[in-house]
Symmetry: D2
Subunit: 280 residues, 4 copies
């Protein structure tokens, strides 16, 4: 499927996030160990927040391990909030508009996983998208469709509820199409201030998801680790696969839950699809 990471905290050079860790995202692009596929070579993307209202976006259809522009960008851009994603396509074309993260206004969105039966359900799902937003869908992935459904259901006001409703709609639509376990994966979204990450699958066997724990405790335990000491106390990461082997640095996000990260605070809440009104 794919692999991703979401960082927030003190401004960090993209390079330190993407290339420096021993099991970095760039390493995972060729040798993921926990993904459904070892190779995630079907494009990549990085979104980062800077001085502008809108985050920057750099997406390419080349494998991340090859991309010289990514290497230079990463060496020169620092940001307090970064989303990065490497893609393993399943069916939909390898093109920039299918690369994650997706962006609408201040919001970024990325996804690891898939909607089973998406081809059959696509029209029904597209019709549920806010008509004002419909023409802004640029690619052909299930991931972007989920983003537009979440936007339709109020992502900008109440992200966990909007995602619950988006996922609920997919499950209800799947039921009508006779598809058993339609949804699977992990999702991350941010408005530039809070990151919400979700782990859920219809079947209850989702892709892995981890978040980093208290940095201050880590600094205490690993006094010699320079990289850790440069991070602010409120720095946090959410990742589809741990970067490096540091014991205790990563906590698994449980099945069917949402973790919200705001500054140094993490809030873990159960995640449950919300079926469309009048259905339950």
């Amino acid at each position: 499927m794919c692999r991703w990471l979401a960082y927030s905290g003190s401004p960090v050079l993209l390079e330190d996030l993407l290339y420096k860790p021993e099991h970095s995202l760039i390493v995972q692009s060729m040798h993921s160990t926990m993904g459904a596929e070892a190779t995630n070579g079907d494009g990549f993307g990085v979104g980062w927040y800077g001085d502008r209202e809108t985050p920057g976006l750099f997406r390419s259809i080349e494998p991340a391990w090859n991309d010289r522009n990514l290497r230079d960008l990463a060496a020169h851009v620092s940001s307090p909030r970064v989303f990065a994603h490497i893609r393993a396509a399943i069916g939909s074309p390898v093109q920039q508009t299918n690369c994650h993260p997706f962006r609408q206004g201040r919001w970024l969105w990325m996804h690891n996983g898939f909607i089973d039966g998406f081809h059959a359900m696509k029209r029904d799902l597209a019709l549920a998208v806010d008509p004002e937003r419909y023409a802004d869908i640029e690619g052909t992935t299930d991931s972007e469709m989920l983003f537009f459904l979440a936007l339709t259901f109020g992502l900008e006001d109440d992200p966990p509820q909007a995602v619950s409703r988006a996922v609920g709609l997919v499950e209800e639509t799947a039921r009508r199409h006779g598809i058993g376990f339609p949804i699977q994966g992990t999702l991350a979204t941010t408005d530039g201030e809070t990151t919400w990450a979700f782990r859920y699958s219809s079947e209850g066997r989702s892709r892995s998801l981890f978040h980093s724990t208290d940095v201050s405790m880590l600094k205490h335990q690993y006094p010699e680790n320079a990289a850790l000491h440069e991070l602010s106390d409120d720095a946090r990461m959410v990742v589809s696969e741990p970067l490096g082997e540091l014991r205790g640095a990563w906590r698994e996000v449980p099945e069917a839950s949402c973790v919200a990260i705001r500054g140094g605070e993490e809030e873990l809440t159960p995640f449950k699809p919300l079926l469309p009104a009048g259905i339950r």
Copy 2:
């Protein structure tokens, strides 16, 4: 906008079609003289019929003038029926799935022009597409949408009528959105045996369209022209811009008409949008 050519006749090396003429399509990709834009550098595509049921397709986002693979393909592939297109994008992303020709089964489709107000009308038009076909739309262009509308309205059975209905739907939808002259351009489609080319605009001022005239007469007039003498008597071309200066070789297709080319026969008929049933 774009430039295109449609060839049918004795098998011809793509190179002879695309590179050899003095004002060839490849030359036009950098220096079109009759197009809305001089530069058509936003990708290109070639479709050709061979031994297979389905035509071959080679589409790329690079400017055609640069592409070494196109040059080699053109030097090695011959075909009795070729569609070629160079793109000047207006708004929609430069990606392979937005390059012409578009293909569904045995059918190819290409377009020069645009739908004014497409962003506003896109959802309404998409809803009119046959639900079975909806999920097969891969790109984001108005051109591909017209193709899917024509398929929905019976392109495979009666192309001129299907195109009339597709264009009619666009005009009716535009009227509801308060858009004055929504459609503009030239279209070509083929099932591998007949080519239909259309010239039409709501305003009555369409992009140029030409077709080649009787080859046997030309051979007689220009006894020294080797290229002409290798073509079969039934060879015909339809082009958005004449290739070369040969006097008398090209006849302009009149405003609001459709030319159908089957073997050496051309049939010119008036073209008129058909408004959706119950509207007139």
Copy 3:
């Protein structure tokens, strides 16, 4: 490093060579089992002989598993002699001019392996290239340099001897630079009529290399295998990794040897670097 195949025999659809076998080259691009790297996603290339003097070439920097143009080309082009290559870059840029096969006139060349210490030796090797040919070097790989050295040393007249001299020059140059085991790999070259494949390493531990055995015997043993029965009796393949599990279909080319395939005849000869004159 890389993976490759060289086919000769009755004209075969590229698709049957590249996509149909159970462990095809396209499968190997993502999941090679015998290569130094499992992933060969740094571009690919196909060279094929047709009606022209010069073979056709299609090379791209995208992973082969993604490329839609390759899929369409493969579905429409047949050829009696095909070279195909998937690349895993080690250091040199991922660009079309670094993709194999390389072509000069009627000759194709491809390589799996590397020259150790190439950066240090590059200038010395380049100076040994025929001055008339120097400016035709287009890329930056050790593989292309070997091709130009072989051309310089008479590839067009006596391929085994030219390759021996090219390899000998590399070994002698390495000795002067204090590099222990400079060369490693398998090479294939053809003039469109004979294919020569080489397996050699300074250390005596080369990458794998196999060639297919007598097709008529295979047809007899496997009467139900349709693919085999369409091939002519003189069809042969040389591959860096067997395609599929068919017992007895593949024979390993021994260390330090050259196999020449002309029609249905294979000739196996020992391969030994020839040191530059006056050195031995």
Copy 4:
């Protein structure tokens, strides 16, 4: 050929340099008015200095007018020193390693123009490159070769003299090959603190070159121009073609001269090729 700009002064958003001016470099990529070619669609590059020792580099083979990543990068990166270039290739492949600016250590280099007879002279010129640097040549352009010659002749110590010697070597080599007017164009190079720009051709008829004049005077003359007022007094630009119509803002660099820009100081000196020692 190509078009370029070199900026130095107070940190400026790349967007303000590349997209905002009425006749910006991005506009010139499709519609240059003073270039040898109207279209400069064969790739582009931007180099910028930030916190690092080495400048950042973003180069792509797509036309600049299309590139979404460039647009986002430009919207998010500010720099006090920027080199930008759009390419119109003449012969050499369209690949990232042939895109300008070229970089070695802290130095950037870009070029508009060409070496006539480069194919014939290439080996002789390459042999003159410092053997330690030879293997670092990555592309195949005459422009990069000039860069390596200048580096060989002491670019890092005395840029005007090093460029004079590089150009002198080309002229002397051309004389031996019987080539009349071998060199033509404009060059820019920087170490991150000073920019040197050269205008020269063997024939005395070089491509155009302009630099901006005193910003403080401009601010006085055009009190209502917001863009001008944000620039520091020492901001300067050197361009192959003026950006916009502002009268008095641009001064033509005379034939056969070098302009050095350090802070707000410009120094104009005559430029003359230095023939290799012992030749004059």
